[in-house]
Subunit: 226 residues, 2 copies
DNA sequence: CCGTTATTATGAAATTTTTATAAAGATTAG
DNA sequence: CTAATCTTTATAAAAATTTCATAATAACGG
């Protein structure tokens, strides 16, 4: 059960977040100020921090800086809450290493989806075997974001790479377009189905004589020929 | 084809939603007031409700409460429409179990994407654990949408696959043509009986020496030899 | 059995659905 | 700003589904 710390000076927001995150299986603790959470961070590290940007006293940005400056804390993922998009520009501009952010008002689903996405990303980071994937003459180097075809390096875009990696992790499995979109772009990024067709087409072109390795299952999706 | 009820007191909004949802393959009915849709809900349940929050008479929030209080209706997902974010705070605060919301003005893409997302989430919940089905030398992999015959992978079309899966779930059981059509294409899709014969023929061809496994029960239907 | 009628099998055409592809538009990174 | 990438759109092409016509088989009453 992943542990999440929520820092916000508005009691109502703290409550909404707490209730809903708990309902989704997270272990949640809330704090009304940056100072409070800093005390707690000295004791236990959560898997994720959710910070309001605007707070009286030390605000979310300063807290973030504080955390990023600490060797023991700097790897904790941070999700920012913000009421104004202007504030968000600041976050992005400052390169504070926010893992994601969300604007108020937000839907519970959006929140949960983003939390899940962050934690999943983290897991993937830890889990992804830095091992080389091979399928016929195609060799994929997960950590190098690159592939070779019959020993020749081939350039793929990020999206093409992620799709191919997905396929090579589960050769023979069929992925629906929605599966592919979710897995490549994260949930709640909204792209229409046809987009996948285009990526598949571009990928096939680059695969040269292996282009038939990607099979179309009409009415269902795509996958590597098992 | 998922059924969606739209409730909004503005005619223009109703029309926009209806046209665009229909274009995306949804079966849409619109209602100008909470009272109207309540009458209809007594008769048929939709797969999703889209409610405007602000309406004269009973508003969206009250309607939502009404639905959540009903045993037969409480599981219907609800997507709220709202012009003001202040209203949305209310939705979130009240814990009405909104599945998502969208603020006016909204883009059609966003709307469609959210609708799809809600329905997809629902599906996942309902999906049954997928086990491999076996019948003699035929092995069917539900999640891979594929089969092997004596270890050799065989390509089936989606329809052929679904028919074979239906049969293999209940070997020995006889399915009428109507059973098969309903189970494969959903109710209220009208195709003539003979269509099934053709699918069965094509399926038998692909089953090779197992083609006799599908037995014809003259005057009744088809099924796997028990 | 036999003829008669009902039902199913089959090939092929017609229709519909789905996918491939090119090209334009939008977005993002540098 | 420019170039690369991603997304959308429009249309062509392919695949799948459905219908239809006809041959083959099964069911049934005598």
């Amino acid at each position: 059960m992943p542990k999440i710390y929520v820092v916000d000076d508005e009691k109502d927001i703290r409550e909404i977040l707490k209730v809903n995150l708990q309902k989704n299986g997270y272990d949640v603790a809330t704090f009304a100020s940056a100072e409070e959470v800093i005390k707690q961070l000295a004791i236990t590290k959560p898997d994720l921090l959710i910070l309001d940007i605007m707070m009286s006293g030390m605000d979310g940005l300063d807290l973030c800086k504080h955390i990023r400056a600490s060797n023991t804390l700097k790897d904790i993922p941070i999700l920012f809450l913000s009421a104004k998009s202007a504030e968000l520009d600041k976050v992005l501009g400052l390169e504070l290493g926010a893992d994601d952010y969300i604007t108020k008002p937000f839907s519970i689903h959006e929140l949960i989806a983003r939390v899940k996405a962050i934690l999943r990303r983290l897991q993937v980071k830890e889990e992804t075997p830095k091992e080389v994937l091979t399928y016929k003459g195609i060799v994929l180097y997960p950590e190098k974001f690159s592939i070779t075809i019959d020993k020749n390096p081939i350039d793929l875009t990020k999206t093409e790479f992620l799709i191919l990696k997905l396929f090579m992790q589960y050769p023979g499995k069929i992925f629906s377009r929605d599966n592919i979109i979710d897995s490549i772009r994260g949930d709640n990024v909204y792209v229409i189905d046809r987009t996948v067709d285009v990526h598949i087409m571009n990928l096939r072109k680059k695969l040269g004589h292996y282009k038939d390795a990607i099979k179309t299952y009409s009415g269902v999706g795509y996958g590597l020929k098992g």
